[in-house]
Structures are given as C-alpha cells and as structure tokens.
C-alpha cells in the first residue's frame, strides 16, 4: 500500500466543530499501513497487550532515547516514515481544533453564532415551508445567497419536469412573490448570522464573488507581512482580511489560524519525539513534504508559516531544512503564540466595533509585532510575555484591542447568558441538550481561564500535545473526545444546514428536513433577538 493510498485515509480524518466529533476510521487506517510501518509503530508504542492503544502507549514515549525505535524508524523508506509520523500525529491535529473551539473566545463567538442561527431557523423554517415551498419551482440557489427581495425564491417541486429542462427558465416568468413582513424579518435574522459565518469561513469555500470587494474601506494599498505582500479585501461588507497573488481563490480566515496551530503542534511533537535536536530534522521535512507540500493542500495549513519564514528570506520547508534547531523551536513556539493570540478575539462587545472581534486583525497585529520584535532584537522571557506586550503596543488602540482579562470575562459571561436565558427557547430536546453541553463546557473553560489570562498549558502546550497540557479531571471531562458523543439528530441538523446554506440540495430534501427539524406550524411572533 503506497503512501498515496494511506494519505486518502489520513484525509478522511476530520474534526466536526459544530457537533464536536472526531470522524476517523482507525481500524481501516491500521489495515492500510505497510507491514514495516505497523511493526515500527508497535515498537514505538511498547505495545504488549492486544486492543486499541492506550494514551500512554500512543504518546507516552520519547523515541530519541530508545535505540530500538530509532534504529527501526531509520530503516524505513520515506513513505513508511511518513506513515508512522502521520499515525502518531493526526489525533494531535484534530485535538488542537477541538480544544481551540471549546476554550477560546473566538470559539465562543463561533458556537454562539451556530446556536443563534438554530434559534433563528426555528422561527424562519415554518414561514419558509408555508410561503415558499408550496408554490413552485424557482428556488435553485444556495441559501447563503438567497435574497427574497431580489428574485422569486420558490423552491423546485421534485416532481416538476421544468427543473430538468436544459433551459431552466424557459417555463415563463415567475409569478410575483409577496413575502409577509414576518417572513422578511425572520429571513433577515437568519441571513445576518449566516452571512457572518460564511465570511468567517464556515462554508469552507469562498463566498460568491459579488460578496468579496478589494480593499478595506476604499484603501487598496498592499500590506507587508514580514516580506510577504498581501492585498486587503473585504468580505460580506464587514470582514477585513487579506489575500495574495499566489492564491487568488483564498483569503486569510479563522481556519488558517486553526490549521496553522494544528500543524505547529504536530511538528512540535515530532521535535520532541526525536530529542529536539538534529535527529528531528529529517522526520520534520518528511512530514511536511508528505502531507503539506505546496500542491497537496490549500494555503490554510502553511500560509502563516511561510509568511513568517519570509523574515528569514526563506520558505518554511527550507527553514526547517536549514535553521538551527533552537531557532526552529522558537519559530514554532512564537507562531503558535501568535495564533493563540488571534483566537482570543471575543464575541461582539458593546463598547467596540467588529474590529475587536476579528481574529484576523489580531493575527496581523501579532505578526507585525513579531516582525518588529525580531528587527529590534527585543527579547521576551516567555510566550505569554510577548502576548502581553502585544496588548500594550502603541498600535493596539487602533485595533480596538483590550486586555485579555476583560475579553475572557466577557466571553465566559456571553456563553453563560446564552445558556441561562436563551437555551430554553430551543424546542427540540435533543438539540437543546447539545447546545447545553457546548455552552456549558465553554463557560467552564473560559471562566477557569479568567485568572490566568493568556496562560494555558493546553492552549500553548510545551511539547505540542494539547492533552498533555490538561491539569485536572474537570478539564478531561470537558475536553476528551470520548466524553461527549453527539446524538445522530444533532449530526443530521448540522449536516443539513451545511448543505442547505452552501450547496444545492434537492427541493424535496429541503422541505422534508425543515419540516422534520422545526415542524410547519406558524411560529409565535416575537421580535428578533440580538443576543
């Protein structure tokens, strides 16, 4: 079995941030590994008992001091080495995502929006079923692009032959659509949340081109991040970010921050396995070349690393090949810290604009601070000291940044408010239980962080492994993958809403799913809740 085929299995490893699940076929991966890779993994785990590996077997050994492991690993082919490294890191990658979504202010903002979106759909769906679904065959767009004031919105009837026409609009001009005021108000409430989530990258794809405009408020000047020129764009009218000439079909977004941290944590773990010295260099390069080569994945995984490496006149993969190992370790730690800093962007706060809530603004501030600190040869004793200095930098006021203490306290209060005052509005008991779990975990984790500010052993783990940063049983109960399994109905909701928002499900599926999740009874009239 070649690495290419094993890679397909690694590609199938996915973290689902809405339902908090890890999706992965562990046995299938094991079966697809080469025999030599399997043998090396058994040696590396010191596995003597049958059954799935324990935490200690998977991550309890440093390989550098064990000649049995290092000798066996050294004898493997490049592809086999990549398989072994992938096996020991893919869960670290997904765990990093899981912890980031549950322990950071940005995670609170994101999950809070998913919760509010659900409530908004609860109001909107019966109106959609009543006013749009029964009337015909014109709804043939993604919901995220749907505007009832712009065109006839009625969905296709699955049995309507005109949907199959090669000239789909040949059946004549649509009848006029006159949505009720309640419909328009409910649609706007849903749409505002959906459009925000889309801009933040929830759809995993670019928005419609008409929703991306060059420049920030008319300013089109190129920005330098280290030595990388980037171009400002505004998405959905509020989300200021940047793109590059090399990647015109991409923009810097929160998933870039999440993926950068996940890759960095895996690299830090490999560094630890091989003793943190020259012995780690070849495995690190193999890992990057095998899983994150320039044509293999999108820019989210390596863009930030490559940007910072331009400060050394290099690409990140070349930096890994040539930099002194202490410099590489410091590079990884500071990259991790910069992205951690970015994820402390809070939900919208009453005393600030959307700028304060942008993880991209925080990331760019961090990268420019980082660049200046290197140029000025400023030294800081710890990563946390760097982050505190970022908050008090002269430029911080322009970005409406505020202290981490108030951000954490506000974020903990935000999710607590949703849990205590809005959760009971969710009529579906299964979905209510899910949101209760999410908001409860976030409240406990954020509240516990308040006295510690940026300090987080799982957020900035010394050896890259977030689980090894957990310090008490409560954290384990909240954050271990196996501590919560979302009900299939929860999975079905998030799967449906993702396809409804960003894809083209058929009309029958839309109608049946909305009816299943929300019923078709007319909603009680209540004003939109700004929460």
């Amino acid at each position: 079995m070649s690495l290419r085929n094993t890679n397909k299995l690694f590609e199938s490893a996915a973290y689902l941030p809405a339902s908090l699940q890890l999706e992965f076929q562990a046995q299938q991966l094991w079966d697809h590994l080469s025999e030599r890779s399997q043998a090396c993994i058994r040696i590396a785990m010191h596995k003597t008992q049958p059954g799935p590996p324990t935490f200690r077997e998977m991550w309890g050994h440093v390989w550098a001091g064990d000649s049995a492991i290092t000798t066996d690993f050294a004898a493997l082919s490049m592809d086999e080495k990549a398989e072994v490294l992938g096996f020991f890191t893919f869960q670290i990658h997904e765990l990093t995502h899981h912890f980031d979504f549950l322990t950071t202010p940005y995670g609170a903002n994101f999950q809070g929006k998913l919760f509010r979106e659900y409530l908004a759909f609860q109001r909107f769906a019966p109106l959609f079923l009543r006013e749009v679904v029964p009337h015909g065959n014109r709804y043939r767009e993604r919901f995220v692009d749907y505007d009832p004031s712009a065109r006839d919105p009625r969905p296709p009837d699955a049995s309507d032959a005109s949907h199959t026409s090669l000239q789909p609009d040949a059946s004549g001009a649509p009848d006029a659509f006159h949505p009720s005021d309640a419909f328009l108000a409910a649609w706007k409430e849903v749409h505002d949340i959906v459009a925000t989530l889309e801009a933040l990258g929830d759809g995993s794809m670019l928005p419609h081109k008409q929703n991306m405009v060059a420049g920030w408020g008319g300013n089109n000047s190129t920005i330098q991040l280290f030595r990388q020129p980037v171009h400002p764009i505004t998405v959905r009218g509020f989300f200021n970010t940047v793109t590059t000439a090399d990647h015109p079909d991409w923009y810097l977004r929160p998933s870039t921050i999440f993926e950068t941290r996940a890759v960095v944590h895996c690299l830090m773990w490999i560094l630890k396995l091989f003793g943190g010295d020259e012995r780690a260099r070849e495995p690190l390069s193999i890992y990057l070349d095998s899983f994150y080569g320039p044509t293999m994945v999108g820019p989210d995984y390596t863009f930030v690393l490559d940007v910072i490496a331009t400060g050394w006149g290099s690409t990140f993969s070349d930096f890994v090949r040539t930099a002194p190992m202490p410099s590489l370790r410091q590079f990884l730690m500071l990259t991790d810290a910069s992205c951690w800093y970015a994820l402390q962007a809070p939900p919208p706060m009453p005393d600030a604009s959307a700028v304060r809530s942008s993880p991209i603004v925080r990331l760019m501030h961090a990268l420019r601070f980082f660049n200046d600190a290197i140029a000025d040869r400023r030294a800081y004793p710890t990563s946390v000291a760097v982050l505190m200095a970022m908050d008090s930098a002269q430029q911080a006021a322009a970005f409406e940044l505020t202290g981490i203490d108030s951000i954490l306290a506000y974020s903990a209060g935000f999710v607590q408010y949703l849990q205590q005052h809005k959760l009971q509005q969710v009529r579906d008991p299964i979905l209510q239980k899910h949101f209760d779990r999410v908001l409860g975990v976030q409240h406990r984790r954020l509240a516990e962080r308040v006295p510690h500010g940026y300090i987080s052993y799982s957020g900035m783990p010394e050896d890259g492994h977030p689980v090894r940063g957990l310090r008490n049983e409560n954290e384990v109960d909240d954050l271990a993958f196996d501590s919560y399994v979302a009900d299939q109905r929860v999975r079905n909701w998030f799967s449906f809403r993702y396809n409804f928002l960003y894809r083209f499900p058929d009309a029958a599926t839309i109608a049946a799913s909305l009816k299943d999740f929300f019923g078709d009874a007319a909603p009680r009239v209540s004003p939109a809740d700004p929460a």
Binding site: N7, F10, E11, S12, A13, A14, Y15, L16, P17, A18, S19, E23, G86, T89, F90, H93, E94, H97, R140, E141, R142, D145, A158, H163, T164, S165, L166, P168, D169, D202, G203, S204, M205, L206, H208, K209, Q210, D249, S255, F258, E259, A262, F291, Y292, M296, V297, G298, Y301, R491, F494, S495, R497, Y498, N499, Y502, R503, F504, P505, D506, A507
Partner: protein
C-alpha cells in the same frame, strides 16, 4: 473539444464525451477535459466549485483536499454520482436506465435533476451524462466502485 469561447451545447458535449470515451477504449481523459470546460463555465457564475459537492457537516481535517480541475473533481464527485444512481432497483436507477436508451438530452435532464445541479452547471451535467451514455449504467456503476473511483489509464 470546443474551447470556452466556442462552447458546445450540452447535448453536443455529452455526445462528444460519449464517442471519445468509446474511441479511446473507455479512458475517461476526454471527460476530464470536458469537466474542465464545465467547471470554467460554472465558476463564471461567481460560485466556488466546492458548492456543487454535497458534504456532511463542516469539517476541518489533518489534510483536507479540494477539487481544482476536471480530474480531481471527478475523483470526488464520481463517488457521489455513483451513490445516487447505482442503487439497484431504485426508482432513479430505473429512470436512468431508460434515459440511457432515450438519448443524451433526456439523460442530461435526469442527471441535472438527480444531482440537483444548478443551471450554471449544465456542462458538468452533460459530461456526466456523456460518461454514462458511453459506458452504460451497469459498467458505470462497476467502474466507479469506491476503491476505483479514479480509474488508472
């Protein structure tokens, strides 16, 4: 194969794809070229290609990849088409089986409806119809079995 400035009609494209696949002994290379054309047409509408590919919920991954061209698109989308059309004795399976006999116009319409493709993806639907018309439904379903969605030629 016509270029973007001389776009064939969907029926022409489906028939071209079908005949070229047959001429080339079952190679899907002509379909990949046609998919490139269809993808370019679709992207002119302003929408990203990923919007055509049904998915589960939002996923972040160790090493997620995206469709970028005709071949990588079919690597992903072929499985989805198979899952829709190849369930034996389903209504849709029967409809497609009859449409294969009726000609490409009917087959394109069935594919567009079955896959819920928007009108701007008509050349993609036509290419899929061309593949099915060339191979026949049984051979198509066999050809696109999960372990071999990307045939080697």
């Amino acid at each position: 194969m016509a270029n973007a400035s001389q776009q064939p009609s969907p029926e022409q494209l489906a028939e071209q794809v079908a005949s070229q696949i047959t001429q080339q002994g079952g190679s899907l290379d002509p379909a990949y070229t046609a998919f490139d054309l269809g993808i370019a047409q679709f992207q002119q509408s302003g929408l990203p290609l990923d919007s055509l590919i049904p998915a589960g919920e939002h996923a972040m991954g160790f090493s997620l990849r995206r469709a970028t061209d005709g071949k990588s698109f079919w690597d992903i989308y072929g499985t989805i088409v198979r899952n829709k059309l190849c369930t034996a004795n389903s209504d849709l399976n029967d409809v497609v089986r009859h449409a294969v006999q009726s000609g490409t116009t009917s087959l394109i319409a069935i594919v567009m409806q079955a896959m819920a493709l928007p009108a701007t993806a008509i050349l993609i639907g036509a290419t899929i119809a061309g593949i099915i018309a060339s191979l026949g439904l049984d051979a198509f379903c066999e050809y696109t079995k999960p372990a071999d969605v990307a045939p080697q030629h």
